[in-house]
């Protein structure tokens, strides 16, 4: 029984290993900067088929095609922006993990900032209200009452 379980475990590990190997091709780069850009680009694009996987670790054929295209365009001397545009033109904004700032995404980018601003404002107002309340001078009647209370405690 234990042997069967061990074999099954090995089988699962083995198939996971081949799946991972399939997703990563060997690519030659003369320039380490180019290589770095390649890895950052394929890490920033979502596979159009697999819902939430970057194309750098997806087995889908389309991810392979996209990695290949990124590589070719890099070798061709295109800038990162050009390469991202090339992909978005074909597969849509969907593939970007960091959506670009444009009219459709103002809310997306602006809302968190707006919420932080509102939060800071609320805290500021609360603090001011509290400080005003605590620094208010006591009236003569109130001080007399306070003195009386303190003295009663002491005696």
């Amino acid at each position: 029984m234990a042997v069967i379980r061990l074999l099954l475990a090995l089988l699962v590990l083995g198939s996971a290993g081949t799946a991972m190997a399939a997703a990563i091709e060997m690519r030659e780069f003369d320039d380490p900067v180019l290589e770095k850009r390649y890895h950052s680009l394929i890490g920033s694009m979502r596979c159009p088929l697999c819902e939430n996987q970057a194309i750098n670790d997806s087995d889908a054929p389309i991810s392979g095609d996209m990695r290949e295209r990124v590589y070719v365009l890099l070798q061709d001397g295109r800038s990162d922006i050009e390469i991202v545009d090339h992909m978005v033109q074909r597969f849509g904004e969907y593939i970007l993990y960091n959506p670009r700032l444009e009219s459709r995404t103002y809310l997306l980018w602006g809302l968190p900032i707006a919420l932080v601003v509102v939060g800071v404002l609320v805290i500021f107002l609360l603090m001011r209200a509290r400080r005003n309340a605590s620094s208010r001078k006591l009236s003569a009647e109130e001080s007399a009452r306070l003195d009386a209370l303190i003295n009663r405690e002491r005696s």
């Binding site: 088929l49 819902e51 889908a60 095609d65 074909r90 849509g92 904004e93």
Partner: protein
């Protein structure tokens, strides 16, 4: 009294936000419009599946409303879709195929076995035309109007209900 009502504001905000998020749950992430919607079909020059000597280009898709179907012999859903495509061809819809990531031999064999609703097939063995179309699986279908502009995009298998409820009305609309 007015200040009391003000206290309800966070609750209202929360409810609005909940409705917004709840609606998000109904979205189907696998159905999104093509990035090429309302844009011209990408330019191409390829040979046809049927005749390696014959080259076709974008002018093929101009002058007539055309349904462009991306298929491959390796794609099981494409086989199930064939009866619907044959039905559409019977109803007079013009169909052009893109034989995607396939070999000539397998592609032709597929048409022999499952029928051929296509006027002709563009042969795209490396998937380059598919890439320019933003195709990420097969089958996918594009409706191209008489000016070569993409007007409708269907991802995945076209069911008999899709033919009746979606495809035919769309073809009609751009006719």
């Amino acid at each position: 009294m007015k200040r009391r009502l003000l206290l309800l504001l966070p609750l209202v905000g929360f409810l609005l936000f909940s409705i917004f998020l709840y609606r998000g749950l109904a979205l189907d992430p696998s159905h999104r419009d093509s990035a090429l919607m309302a844009r011209e079909f990408p330019a191409f020059t390829y040979s046809t599946l049927e005749d390696p000597q014959r080259e076709v280009d974008l002018s093929l898709l101009k002058g007539e409303v055309t349904l462009v179907n991306v298929w491959g012999e390796w794609c099981p859903a494409c086989k199930q879709e064939m009866p619907q495509l044959l039905d559409l061809a019977d109803r007079g819809v013009r169909l052009v195929g893109i034989n995607y990531r396939d070999t000539r031999e397998k592609g032709l064999q597929f048409l022999e076995e499952f029928g051929n609703p296509f006027e002709l097939n563009i042969f795209d063995p490396d998937g380059d035309l598919g890439f320019d179309l933003g195709v990420y699986g097969a089958p996918e279908t594009f409706l191209v109007d008489r000016d070569g502009i993409i007007r409708y995009h269907h991802t995945g298998y076209i069911s008999p209900a899709d033919v009746r409820d979606v495809i035919l009305p769309e073809v009609e609309k751009w006719q």
